[in-house]
Subunit: 134 residues, 2 copies
DNA sequence: CTCTTATAGTTAACTAGTTAATTATTTTTC
DNA sequence: GAAAAATAATTAACTAGTTAACTATAAGAG
């Protein structure tokens, strides 16, 4: 992520803030839990990131109309401008990495990582005490 | 790393502290830069981790005999005891992951990750201005 | 030998990951 | 419909990643 981080540092946002902004740009107004899922963030991290993005005027929040527990988060014009200003360079860098590393190998890598995540959860169970299952 | 972290939490250390302790146990007295290299940590992180480990009496430091800039860090008996108490379970968990995920696939994954790290560095160079090279 | 440069390590400031506790609201159950 | 359980989000406390600035010591150049 080095090159991407450098570019984003110039734009004044971090990698995670950028990821959240992209979710907001693509999905329109969404609640925090959905952002967390799509941006791979835990809720406490997301809470802080949204506070920062709001302070920077890159997003705004309002109450969910029918469920007052939820927030509806929306990107602002400034946020969208930031995305549009940096998306080409971001895409260029990713394309360069993909080309240098090999598209197939990159896909293999991502597949393996996904599988490993699932594998670990299974391996996390303590052996020999399966009282509720089976 | 979930299962490992759970085990280490019981032992009162974090993943990174554990990694540093293992380097200390395997290498004997070493300077901080070498620990950072082997444990994949940046120096500022390592500085903090060593301070914590020292506070917990799991390691100690003294001056390097010929270079007073360097520290020589060494594991204590308590640190070694912690390693010995937890190494079997740690190895068991890793073996379980390896078995569930597949030894070959795990090796492939690690190889790909190493390659990607190197690839990214190359991709980081700005294109079109190679004045010093070529 | 002194001035410059490089190296080892620390500190500072900010951001994020992690777990647990907490608040507010909604849904379920009796 | 009220008590209990579940859910959305926040806060707190701690640890670590990251960059930059800084201190102390060592090595090299004149």
């Amino acid at each position: 992520m080095g090159p991407i981080r450098g570019m984003l540092a110039n734009a004044g946002v971090t990698e995670q803030q950028w990821r959240v902004l992209r979710v907001l740009a693509e999905r329109g107004p969404v609640d925090a839990t959905q952002i967390a899922g799509e941006a791979c963030l835990l809720m406490p991290s997301l809470t802080r990131i949204l506070q920062i993005l709001e302070k920077k005027r890159f997003c705004s929040r309002r109450r969910h109309p029918t469920d007052r527990r939820r927030a509806l988060v929306e990107i602002t014009a400034a946020g969208r401008a930031l995305i549009e200003a940096n998306a080409p360079e971001s895409n260029r860098i990713f394309a360069e990495i993909e080309a240098a590393f090999g598209k197939e190998r990159l896909e293999t890598l991502l597949d393996l990582l996904n599988d490993l995540t699932e594998t670990e959860v299974v391996a996390a169970r303590e052996p020999g005490q399966g009282t509720t299952e089976d």
